[in-house]
Symmetry: C2
Subunit: 436 residues, 2 copies
Amino acid sequence: MNGLLTDLYELTMAAGYFAANKHEETATFELTIRRLPRNRDFVVAAGLHRAVDYLMNLRFTVNEIAYLRGLPSLRNADPGFWDYLETFQFTGDLFAVPEGTILYEGQPVLNVRAPLMQGQIPETYLLAAIGYETLVATKAARIVHAAVGREIIEFGTRRAHTPEAGVLGARAAYIGGCAGTSNTLAGYRYGIPVLGTAAHSWVMAFASEAEAFERLQRLLGERTVHLIDTYDTLEGARTAARLGRPLWGVRIDSGDLAQLSRDVRVILDQAGLPDARIMASGDLDESKIAALVEAGAPIDAFGVGTELTTSADAPVIGAVYKVVAIGNPGNVRYPVKSSPEKHTIPGAKQLFRLPDHDVLGLSTECITGAEALLKPVILAGKVIETLPDAREVRERAALALRDWPAPGRKTELSPRLKALSAKTRNAEQEAEAIPV
Amino acid sequence: MNGLLTDLYELTMAAGYFAANKHEETATFELTIRRLPRNRDFVVAAGLHRAVDYLMNLRFTVNEIAYLRGLPSLRNADPGFWDYLETFQFTGDLFAVPEGTILYEGQPVLNVRAPLMQGQIPETYLLAAIGYETLVATKAARIVHAAVGREIIEFGTRRAHTPEAGVLGARAAYIGGCAGTSNTLAGYRYGIPVLGTAAHSWVMAFASEAEAFERLQRLLGERTVHLIDTYDTLEGARTAARLGRPLWGVRIDSGDLAQLSRDVRVILDQAGLPDARIMASGDLDESKIAALVEAGAPIDAFGVGTELTTSADAPVIGAVYKVVAIGNPGNVRYPVKSSPEKHTIPGAKQLFRLPDHDVLGLSTECITGAEALLKPVILAGKVIETLPDAREVRERAALALRDWPAPGRKTELSPRLKALSAKTRNAEQEAEAIPV
């Protein structure tokens, strides 16, 4: 299961490591935020739940192996490689920052320490799983921050890159601080509050807007949110006002939201409905929401879809998955890649969080007064404790985001990591890779 | 199965239609490209295979129904609604343009004609399924076009919005003209050529670059592609040249690709390897590729990931799913939404393609000499013929893209559609929706 959900070269390399009898050599791979997404000063880590599911269930079925055997690129694979795949399972270790942790440029999200082949194959999956949810959790945090206490409801599944991504996006958005999602499966699967009212097609399906509103009210009671902009927003508001309670409020999905919300507020207030709320939606993002809040628009909640679920202004995260140490105890090498633009820091690392800065050190170090953020999650192929659920993760993130993270926070290298890095870099100018 | 993978409001509305005894009323919903993505003059339609799978397998399990019954928004649902969901299956019709069809702004991708409830629930899924694959197929077409005959290999799964989206992105990229993908599962599932070589971690896993290259060659033979930029690109090229054949070629993944490819070409030629090819990769998109082609860089193939699989410059498609006709034969209403920015054209439509323009008409019209693009796919809940596989779709798209589509192609409304639109629009100024 899931064995083929990877780039072919991971499997080609796996076959090559097998042929070179290196597949059982222990290696440490590091998944790092090499570059922050555009417009971001930090990210909110998310997606670990899927990394764990994936590693624990990584298998190759008989049919999958038969398919691989037929591929030209694997024609020369050692027969023993196929036996190995048949009984493949992940027996290594996973260290990761908890979901909901704030990370800055250059910081690791997780380490995989495993036999070389087992560490190599997960690269593709882990990057995509962690990358997407981290993008959305981060975007959600920004949007929630811009709304200054007003609720954000995520409803972007229809714009997600596949419907299934929408389910995970909903979870990530909730972690980032959204109050709930429109995605029903996300509610079912992750226990996230699901919310929703009605679409324009509802209003259009009845002979009149009034009938549509009245029918909705009968169904939803005090959860009723009338979508008032199908024909004319202020007329819609008057119709809603006439129908009165029970009512949560109204939603405006188009037009000049600042002006319309003021006019609608007056209509609701004059009808004796001061507690009826106004929700706004329609291609909103953090800057539009900040502008509406700044303008004092009487909007109580925002529905955000497209921009959130696709992280549209920054749909890509510059995460990488690199081998940082290879070899069994007593004979560990620290490979470094040193192309002009891309330089890696070798060694299995730990990320230490201190009040005003972070330190990247070796995994064997200990720094007094710091929190070691990379925590053991899987050891020797066993999950060592249940992961927190979405609600707990959301609380963790909220705590970390309470004081909005300052841009430009420093990540120092520990003296020992600096020394290792310098040593390998110098040595690498002579040999291509060195034993340390 | 899949029943909950939708926005809650689709299900709330379904319950409401049931309560209003409207759920069996026939409705036509239209999925339309309301606005083209940024930087796009057209799209290449894709994703229909998933729309069909979804509609044919749309069910609600007992556990899912139990979950829904517990939701506050559905507390007042009619008991009969739950029975209805238990035996729910799609019994309607689906008309769609074949995958690989070029579409322009304002054109429909598909129509669902079904009992109102059955047409409403799929909105969320269909938009996301069609939207994502269409984005990627379109981006691929642009990239392939920019490469002027050089091969494009897609390898973006690691940047996809979830690993699973990568599988569908690979299929869409292939449809758009890519030669193959790195995604193994896409190869297994869709019969797409899978390609791949080795990563930097491969080179770093051996004591020397030469050993890594030699090992790869032993495994891949004439499929060998040495990744030469781990340490020093020109040194890497010399090492590859020394090892000689068998060899497909080399890959450069960083640096000044135009200059490096020229220098590497010289090294390979001087070593008597004029048939060794050069592949370039590293954050490429259509404009960077066009510039490299324009500069005459001796690059034979491009590997493209991030920008392709996320459609990074335009990660969102402005597709909408709107009800355009409601009511049983003899009593059909044509609802129109007429907010200032969003005006819909009513009626079940057909899209007619003529040599130099398109005509949007009523589904009952026939235009001599035109191809009617919306073709029946599901009728009365049955798939009426097997969908073409990815290879056939790719050929269809290639044919349509052979003469690169001119921007600004016109879509006219047929006189009958214009008349219906005017009639409903005028009438709508008096009543909120009218029977025609």
